[in-house]
Amino acid sequence: MLKISSLTKTFGAFRALNIGQINIPKGQVTGIVGPNGAGKTTLFNTVGGAFRPDGGSVTLDGVDITGLAPHKLAYQGLVRTFQISRDLGALTILENLLLARPNQSGEGIAAALFSRSRIRAEEEKAIEHARALLRRVDLWRLADQSAANLSGGQKKLLEVLRAMMLSPKVILLDEPAAGVAPTMEGVLVDFILSLKAEGVTFAIVEHDMEMIERLCDSVYVMTEGHEMMHGSFHEVTTDPRVLEAYLGSMV
């Protein structure tokens, strides 16, 4: 489904990314792990449109999406979240979700001025959509509060919910467990698994191995910008090369 081939990204003389082949299969959760500096977030930034790749290709369902800007990727069905939650704190939780809904005619100035009843009808539908999502994780009760007031874990949930408003094919989650309390981590894992059951595909960069084990169907291990192995959680965690990659970097 999401195929990343020969993708490279260099910063000056430093080759931060040198991917051979990474496949994110449809309807699965694929983990991407590796020591700090292995290039995991760079991979997400390059696939997600924040950086332009220097070479290689990314295809989604056979469509070439290499180097597209983030807003174009969103319409192709690929949305990412961020390592440090980037909530839109001045907007309410509900507004955060409504913002993400695609094809809103009220985003045009003329419509905003003259097609008020059409916008109201669209907003009603958007609010219903958002409400259904918020209720699944018990956030509807906070719908009208500023997103800035949410806890770390709730902000991560909000990012996933916001992405879901676009009905995406693939969601790239960058360290969903970072800064999340253990109880919220359980909520987050359950929610991601329930979305997976509905056919949403995920790629996850994460350091929390427990979360990787609970979520991922398969795992890629990255070192020095390259994917060094791919396998089940068990295969990956018992491979001596992986241990060396993590521990060897400490020598």
């Binding site: 969103a74 001045a90 509900l94 913002l99 695609p102 676009l166």
Partner: protein
């Protein structure tokens, strides 16, 4: 006395219009426009020149709006990659370019001598104090239209995207929003309101010259937006009135304190304005009124 109050109200309306535009551009979309006085000057000169060339005043005002909209869109477009301080510098440079143009292209603008004798709208209908009141009515109508325009944008999905861009443009982009298009349109929408403000200024004073369009216009607009509450149009109105009351009210200091000489009174006036702003920023940094937020949960349990 009525004449004085009418004049003050018209000043308030013109400065509130500029504040309304800034509230859209900076308050909501987060685009710092220090060059607002340059756009204001363009609006006033286009309206003035067109009216002097015999164009009906309403059409002259429309031409001014078209000019400020196009220039605003262009400035937003060429500074697409600039944020915050850098955009502030670029807009300031634009305003300086406008000032130099107005000063030096004497054949068109009259240079430092300015443009005298700009025709006024509906000048045959009334005269003297009655005309002042008529002009006040026109200004209030123009303000009401611009306020409705700004408020409809604020509460629409368009306004929501602007606030999202201000908070974090990468997130907005990740969620499928074309950031450049929204920035250009937000700047142009603000430009339209500045065009109206410029026209009113030209028609009211009937004489314009480059010194009327200095950086103080930008300073008052920012004061009004900050005092009123960034992002709130009602707050902006309260902010603009407060700033004007502070500026005009302190003129009468001397009457209450006859022991001060003129120089001391002028200094005390500036001190009071500064203290007022500092107190406001300490005790109510978010401004008088909070930004618009959708409240949709009630009635949908």
């Amino acid at each position: 006395m009525i004449g004085y109050f009418t004049a003050i109200l018209i000043f308030v309306i013109i400065s509130a219009l500029i504040g309304l535009a800034l509230n859209l551009q900076w308050g909501q979309a987060g685009m710092v426009n220090f060059g607002i006085f340059g756009f204001f000057a363009v609006g006033a000169y286009v309206a003035g020149l067109a009216a002097m060339a015999g164009v009906p005043t309403l059409i002259a005002a429309l031409l001014a709006v078209v000019a400020t909209v196009i220039l605003s869109a262009l400035v937003a477009l060429v500074s697409a990659r600039l944020r915050e301080d850098y955009l502030a510098i670029a807009t300031l440079a634009f305003a300086e370019a406008v000032r130099l143009f107005l000063l030096n292209e004497t054949w068109l603008t009259g240079g430092a001598n300015g443009l005298p004798g700009i025709p006024r709208p509906l000048s045959k209908v009334a005269s003297g104090l009655n005309y002042e009141l008529l002009f006040l009515g026109l200004s209030i109508t123009a303000f009401a239209l611009c306020f409705a325009f700004a408020q409809l944008l604020t509460v629409s999905p368009f306004g929501r995207v602007l606030r999202a861009l201000r908070e974090d443009d990468l997130v907005a982009s990740t969620l499928g929003k074309t950031t450049l298009s929204f920035r250009v349109r937000a700047f142009a929408a603000g430009g339209a309101i500045i065009g109206v403000a410029g026209s009113l200024h030209a028609f009211y004073f009937t004489y314009i010259d480059p010194t009327q369009f200095g950086a103080f216009v930008t300073a008052y607009a920012f004061m009004a937006v900050i005092a009123g509450g960034r992002g709130s149009n009602i707050g902006l109105l309260i902010g603009a009135v407060s700033v004007m009351v502070l500026l005009e009210g302190t003129r009468f200091l001397k009457d209450f304190m006859p022991f001060l000489d003129a120089g001391q009174a002028a200094s005390l006036r500036l001190i009071l304005i500064g203290v007022g702003l500092i107190l406001l920023l300490i005790y109510r940094p978010q401004g008088f009124v909070s930004e618009y937020r959708l409240q949709a949960k009630q009635g949908r349990e």
